[in-house]
Amino acid sequence: MSVKHALLALLSEGPKYGLQLREEFESGTGEVWPLNVGQVYTTLQRLERDGLVESDDTSEEGPQKGFRITAAGAAELAGWLRTPPDLSSPPRDELVMKVLVALRVPGVDVHEVIQVHRRYLVELMQQWTRLKEDEAEYDLSLALVVDAELFRLDSVIRWLDSADGRLKRAAADKAAGTTAAPATPPAPVPLPNRRRRTGARG
């Protein structure tokens, strides 16, 4: 999360004080991202140094010091909003690694490992859903944040479901002697060797 750009966005509505920025940041993100006041002032100092914001009175630090966005700050904000986050290369996902490792460890049932993670993720989703049910009806920012988290967790569960099914089919094929690629080693090739070749997808 870019605190810098969130503060620029708040200042694009008009001049504001530091404490006010902190309060509006938290309420605008459904109060899911706590922010301490020190972080706000450090970020504002950097923004001022870079010419992206201006302050009322450079001699006086504190809660009564007001800030406003500059033309350069507005341009920076407009550019940031339209710059896609880096999703082009696959992240080094710990859960994917755990499932791949579970395949190679003798005596470990990979389906049981998958279920442990599936259950944890569903429990987490239950908590987010309860939060949405209780509060998000009246708080649009919170509803958007909670939805984003639910979709993210849901996608991880879908991957686990898909992995579960794929591994079952692979085991059934192996038992039936119809392995699709008999020349390759039975266990998957370790991921790190392949990562460099995965490249940009997008």
Partner: protein
């Protein structure tokens, strides 16, 4: 006492070498006011579990108790009465009768149970009002959107003195906003004391439940723990998106 209890329920379709074991010994209890979601992949036995719980199909072995009463000891007529009076069903494809208006669809189970038409329709209208469909009561199903049709189906499932609602992929092909509205309605029914079982492969739907059980190859293999306070999500470092 549980509103629904399954004890060692097995279900086998066919015989001999071609027999399919759909359920292999399922124990499940659903208390009044609780929503339980049953998650599992296709072929895990989810829909079979629901039809047996709803007395639409009989188990090969084991017992189903509704509000403490074992189904196996009931006459055919008593089971039919139980299905009309106490159990509401919500299906993926809504199953509304196309020749009846929304309010007539909702009132139908009451009328089948002998309640006079005018009273049944008044009760049906009240439930539609509660679900935000006050102005849609006189529309026919093909005049309603998908989301509205499913809300009518939920109204029909909870109308009267129903204590148990059984739902099979209740948000079906609805988009996520309408799907959420459906689950919100079901959960509100539970807060009024209805017990609900929702079978789904969709984690977002299942996450509305108080408890999620995981079905694999006809067996319950796992279930979620009692829920932590959701406020903890807002204060735990590393849990933020």
């Amino acid at each position: 006492m549980s509103m629904l209890e399954l004890q060692g329920v097995r279900k086998v379709y066919g015989q001999g070498a071609t027999a399919v074991k759909a359920l292999r010994g399922v124990d499940l209890q659903v208390e009044p006011g609780a929503m339980v979601a049953v998650m599992g992949p296709s072929g895990s036995g989810k829909s079979t579990l629901l039809t047996i719980a709803g007395s639409l199909e009989e188990p090969t072995e084991g017992e189903v108790l509704i509000d403490g009463a074992p189904l196996s000891r009931m006459s055919r007529n008593a089971r039919a009465r139980l299905r009309r009076r106490s159990i509401g069903y919500v299906f993926q494809d809504f199953n509304l009768l196309p020749g009846l208006t929304a309010v007539e669809n909702v009132a139908l189970p009451l009328e089948l149970d002998g309640i006079p038409g005018r009273r049944a329709r008044a009760t049906g209208k009240q439930v539609l009002d509660d679900l935000g469909l006050s102005d849609r009561g006189n529309q026919f199903p093909d005049q309603l959107s998908g989301g509205e049709r499913q809300r009518v189906a939920i109204a029909r499932a909870v109308v009267g003195d129903r204590h148990l609602v059984l739902a099979d992929e209740p948000s079906g092909a609805l988009d996520s906003v309408n799907g959420e509205a459906v689950m919100r309605l079901l959960h509100e029914a539970c807060k009024r004391g209805v017990a609900a079982v929702v079978v789904t492969h969709d984690a977002q739907l299942a996450s509305w439940a108080d408890r999620v059980v995981f079905l694999r190859d006809g067996r319950i293999v796992d279930q979620t723990a009692p829920q932590a306070d959701p406020e903890s999500l807002l204060s735990t470092p590393g849990q933020t998106p």
